[in-house]
Symmetry: C2
Subunit: 357 residues, 2 copies
């Protein structure tokens, strides 16, 4: 598996005239080696030359954790790892660096190879990583179905009287209990906090009449889940049910529009035009979705201006929202994967508004 991916990336390097790939933290590393590095100051770096063998440099104390078919070279606590890694990089060359590498690491390499041209590896990696294979889709599907169970279970949980932070904790516990190996986020945003799409759970107490955005996900076999469902405590706030009908229509239509050959921006436009026609266009303040895989957010981004054609095996979120500042917010989110003849929803729990105590 990893060997095939390294062969594919080497072909991409040669086609693009890039001499070597140099990656550290981020998901390109587990994609190519099966090993996820700790996001700390001791550098882990994979060097993949356009021709020849790949080498993984790891801090000596982390070497016992590493299980990969790639050749591993540990560096010691008093070594200069940048000197050691740069030794394998041609001086007068083009080197593609992983998008999430720390800037301080890139600068250290640029200082050691002033004649080299450093470019972003994302345009090389994304075409490979965007198309999920059968095992990747199975992991995404298992992750999706697990969080669907959490969303349904939450319909039986009392929200009123708890803080957002407590609810976030309950969601996290349920995600782990559902078989996820880790929780990536558990947004619980009640009442006017719902109008902040990336709100962090606060000490605010959830009250009757609050609409609550619950957006959560984690990892199963390295692959992400990400779903959003809406819960109303007792009753919905003024104007909410009407807007929700528009949002649900937009989300369903966008999901149904997914098929090979359409483009990312067309899917965005499908959701956006329905929300605009409903009179809420100015309150849909973000793109319709993002790709998902080893990263929680990755290509393809479902956004105006992205003409990327959808292909079989692409997995991404469809998550339109409506946010009225000072009042409430709402979002409905499913992960979908494009299939040969259309789309598979990896989240299948009901998208209806849920009423809780």
């Amino acid at each position: 598996m990893n060997e095939e991916r390294i062969i594919a990336v080497q072909a991409a390097l040669r086609e693009s005239g890039v001499d070597a790939l140099l990656i550290s933290v981020g998901s390109d590393l587990p994609y190519l080696t099966g090993y996820r590095a700790m996001p700390l100051e001791r550098i882990t770096a994979l060097v993949v030359p356009a021709f020849g063998e790949a080498t993984l440099f790891v801090p000596e104390l982390e070497a016992p954790r590493v299980d990969t078919s790639v050749e591993v070279r540990p560096w010691g606590e008093t070594d200069d790892p940048f000197d050691r890694i740069a030794a394998g990089l041609p001086s007068d060359s083009t080197i593609a660096v992983g998008d999430q590498m720390w800037a301080s690491f890139l600068i250290a390499f640029q200082d050691r190879r002033p004649g080299a041209r450093f470019v972003d590896a994302e345009p090389l990696m994304a075409p490979l990583r965007m198309i999920k294979d059968k095992d990747e889709i199975a992991a995404l599907r298992d992750a999706g179905h697990a969080v669907d169970g959490v969303a349904d279970h939450l319909s039986t949980v009392r929200f009123g009287g708890r803080t957002e932070r407590e609810m976030s904790r309950i969601v996290s516990d349920l995600v782990l209990a559902s078989g996820h190996e880790s929780v990536s986020f558990a947004i619980v945003a009640a009442g006017k906090n719902g109008a902040s799409p990336h709100h962090e759970g606060s000490d605010q107490i959830i009250e009757p009449g609050d609409a609550v955005v619950v957006d959560f996900g984690g990892r199963v076999r390295g692959y992400g889940s990400d779903t959003t469902r809406m819960y109303c405590v007792g009753e919905a706030p003024d104007g909410f049910v009407e807007a929700y009908a528009v949002l649900e229509h937009a989300q369903r239509a966008a999901v149904e529009s997914v098929r090979p050959g359409t483009t990312a921006e067309t899917i965005d436009a499908t959701a956006r035009s329905i929300i605009s026609d409903g009179g809420y266009g100015e309150f849909f303040i973000h793109r319709t979705g993002h790709g998902i895989g080893l990263d929680a957010h990755e290509q393809p981004y479902i956004v105006q201006g992205n003409t990327e054609p959808i292909r079989t095996g692409m997995a991404f979120s469809i998550e339109p929202g409506i946010y009225i500042p000072g009042r409430w917010g709402m979002r409905i989110e499913d992960i979908v994967v494009a299939t040969d003849d259309g789309v598979e929803r990896l989240n299948r729990s009901s998208r209806k508004l849920r009423f809780v105590e």
Copy 2:
């Protein structure tokens, strides 16, 4: 507070001949603005010119989360944020970039300002961030005392028969219950897994006779805790108690050696020479410690070759370890802060070997 820090960093920029500071994800941002950005693909960037006002660029959908005294400029989903941010950067200048900025962001800025020289901001930021003020020390102290309670509580918990992963979960729950706002890590490494210093909790069942490394920490008011204590299930493995006596001696001596004017490498040498004299030198495979604050690992690093003089207000770990591959590992870790006349241990739970069921 943030205003004073921005004034201090501007003075440092002018002294170093740097025209602007440009930071995104990482802890420099909360240090200077009170706001921690999400480590995602939508860039958040603070520009601090050597002269003039700082500006914080944030994704429009995250703007409602931002609470800072710095001027905030949201960018929209279809804007090019790099063009907007680079517009405020002089063309022919020296720009210091935050050490944890994504490489893809740095490359985007380098493409837009090819005449500029981009340098690592860490040498500018570390001297400021290394010296903790009273509030920072209070947060580190509260965090340290909270995890001490967890370490003590763990002495009453049954380890045997549980998997490492279950124990890791129990530790995480206790850290949150102790008043931490988040858990950063909860390493539980039993038996031979203990010989891997950064082991991740596996499905391995903890057995009688296992020595278990438990290394955990999280955040209180943004500041980290980090402590390691050793637990033996029933009895200690062969040779363990003798080695532990050496390790405890080394750790205590290193803590006691901390005072203003000594150097980071001297503290490392204190621990290392005792472990070497005890016959375990080759099994102490990492540095003695790392600074701690808004980052889990930051300067000063307590490592051979680091001649940084210790000053009042520096906070760091003292965590020597002994790792025998295929058999067991051990580590004892406290966070300490240098005071005018010596050292304060922020972890005060017993460093003795703990026996559990």
